[in-house]
Symmetry: C2
Subunit: 140 residues, 2 copies
C-alpha cells in the first residue's frame, strides 16, 4: 500500500493528485459518455493508451473509490468497470471541460447539439446523465 504524501491540502491540488496526468480523465470519460465498461474497450479508445498505463490508472481509480471492478456474470474472464457516486460526481467537471474546449479549440469535434444542450440547460443535462449512470450502478 503506497502512500505518497500530498503536496498540500488545497482542494484543487487534491483533485490533481488523482487527475494530474494525461489519461485518467479519458477513462472516466469513456465510462461516462461512451458507455464503456471493459479493459479492452478502454484500450481501443482513439487516444491509444498503452496497456501498462491503463492497468495502472484503473487500479488507482479503484483505490481512490472512483470506479468499481467486478466480475462479469455471463463472461467469467471479463471484469466490469463502473463509476461510483464519487465518480459520477465528476460529471460537472467534465461538462465544464467540454464547454471550455468547445469555445476555444476550433479543431474540437463535438456534437453541436450536445454542446448546445450543456449551455442551454446545464442542470437538466447533469440530472439526465447522472441518473442514467446511477441506474447502471444499482442494476448489478
Amino acid at each position: 500500500m503506497k502512500k505518497t504524501k500530498k503536496k498540500s491540502n488545497c482542494p484543487i491540488n487534491s483533485a490533481l493528485e488523482v487527475f494530474g496526468d494525461k489519461w485518467t480523465f479519458l477513462i472516466v470519460r469513456d465510462i461516462m459518455f461512451n458507455g464503456k465498461h471493459y479493459y479492452g474497450e478502454f484500450l481501443n479508445a482513439e487516444e491509444k493508451i498503452s496497456t501498462n498505463i491503463l492497468a495502472d490508472r484503473l487500479s488507482l481509480l479503484e483505490q481512490s473509490g472512483i470506479i468499481t471492478k467486478t466480475k462479469d456474470n455471463n463472461h467469467k474472464s471479463k471484469f466490469v468497470y463502473r463509476l461510483t457516486q464519487k465518480g459520477i460526481d465528476l460529471l460537472p467537471i467534465l461538462l465544464e471541460f467540454i464547454v471550455w474546449s468547445s469555445k476555444y479549440d476550433k479543431d474540437v469535434d463535438e456534437d453541436n447539439a450536445f454542446f448546445e444542450s450543456i449551455r442551454k440547460d446545464k442542470i437538466k443535462m447533469l440530472d439526465e446523465i447522472s441518473n442514467k449512470l446511477k441506474n447502471e450502478l444499482i442494476e448489478d
Copy 2:
C-alpha cells in the same frame, strides 16, 4: 515552434493536452484565487514547484493564450503574469474541482464560507470573481 500532434480532437482530451499534469492548474489557481502575478510568488506556493518546471509551464500557458506576460512598469526586472479571457473562463472548471474535492476529501482545508457560497449561488460567485479578474485585465 514545437507542434506535438494531438492524440484526438475530443474536447476533454483537448483540455488535457494543456492541463494534463500536476502543476499547470496550480499556477492558474494562484493567479485566480490568490492574486499572484510574479514568478517568485508562484515559486513560493505551498506545493513547491521547481523552477525549471515553473518556467516551462508559464511558457506553455502563454503560448496557449491562457496568460499574458508583460513588463512591470515600476519594477523593470519583474514580469507580470495575468489571465486572459480564455484563462478567466477556466473558473467554472476550478470551482467544480473545489466542489468535488470538498465533498470527498475530508483532509482538504477549504474556507467553508467560500465553499458554501459556491454551492448556494454558483452563478453569482462566477460573476463576481470573473468580473474582478476582468478588471485586472484592462487596467494595464
